[in-house]
């Protein structure tokens, strides 16, 4: 089980949170200008990172805020969490167990 550090409420148990997938996917500036392939790319295509991954979480049973977490998808190590719009924390040098 994960202990996730909500930027407002502090460390809480994973059951209080909801997962929101990959972080930092910008909505296209002009959606109408995209063709179907580009739109599908934005909507559906996600990285399948092995190692450190920036992802969104929602503290839905707490303060109901969205925030970002850097988590290692192999070891479940959580490097840090940060509010929307903040700069991500520095990633550790090693790939962190992704061998």
């Amino acid at each position: 089980m994960l202990n996730i550090d909500c930027p407002w409420c502090g460390k809480r148990h994973e059951t209080e949170f909801r997962y929101g997938g990959e972080a930092h996917i910008a909505r296209p500036e002009d959606p109408a200008a995209l063709d179907d392939t580009e739109w599908a790319e934005f909507l559906f295509m996600r990285k399948n990172t092995k190692g450190y991954f920036a992802e969104r979480w929602l503290h839905n049973n707490g303060c109901r805020r969205w925030f970002n977490v850097i988590r290692n998808t192999v070891t479940h190590e959580i490097v840090g969490s940060y509010k929307m719009g903040e700069t991500p924390p520095k990633l550790p040098k090693s790939a962190g167990g992704a061998k």
């Binding site: 409420c9 809480r12 059951t15 209080e16 049973n61 707490g62 303060c63 805020r65």
Partner: protein, 189 residues
């Protein structure tokens, strides 16, 4: 004033079986308030109506004369008190007119259980993954978490006394769970 004296929740059906130190409180006024705490016009208006300085620290409670304010999120508070919810909403709306805020009477949303006694935090600790140990959770703190897998707000109102806010429709389940959680500590050793 809304006539809430006759309100009952599903938990009322099992209230007779509640052990010592556990009860459902009678309905009170609860108002959800949203706004920007960095905006002095907002905080000043709230203070002029309620006398409260809204807590900007997460999971803290500010207590005023008639109402207290529970921190719910960075821009959201729950005002709780014995006063008149409709009157409070009206005076807040008047004072906050033109501002980007939300004021809602949510008195019927949640019912409040009172849990007290030397083992009250033990009953909470076995019902939740949040740490209710006195070294972490103290009077004046509140927390939104899961109690028996149900969303709840837990507020420590005093030494060995907690108020647990749960959705009215979940009250029979959570009330029954907490009553059972506390019962073992009331048995003779």
């Amino acid at each position: 004033m809304a006539d809430n004296a006759s309100w009952i929740t599903p938990a009322a059906a099992i209230a007779e079986s509640f052990p010592d130190g556990f009860s459902e409180l009678r309905p009170c006024a609860q108002v959800n308030l949203r706004g920007d705490i960095a905006d002095l016009a907002f905080t000043d208006a709230v203070k002029s109506v309620t006398g409260l300085t809204l807590p900007d620290m997460p999971n803290k409670v500010a207590t005023g004369k008639d109402f207290k304010a529970l921190w719910l999120s960075p821009d959201e508070w729950l005002l709780v008190g014995e006063g008149d919810a409709e009157a409070l909403v009206q005076s807040l709306e008047d004072a906050l007119a033109g501002q980007h805020v939300a004021v809602n009477d949510v008195s019927a949303n949640r019912t409040i259980f009172e849990l007290s006694g030397p083992h009250s935090h033990h009953a909470l600790m076995k019902s939740s993954e949040y740490d209710f140990h006195p070294r972490v959770f103290a009077p004046g703190d509140c927390v939104q978490t899961l109690i028996a897998k149900s969303q709840a707000i837990v507020e420590q109102v005093g030494e060995n006394m907690f108020h647990i806010y749960v959705r009215s429709s979940f009250s029979r389940y959570v009330g029954g769970w907490l009553a059972e959680a506390l019962a073992e500590y009331n048995e003779a050793p």
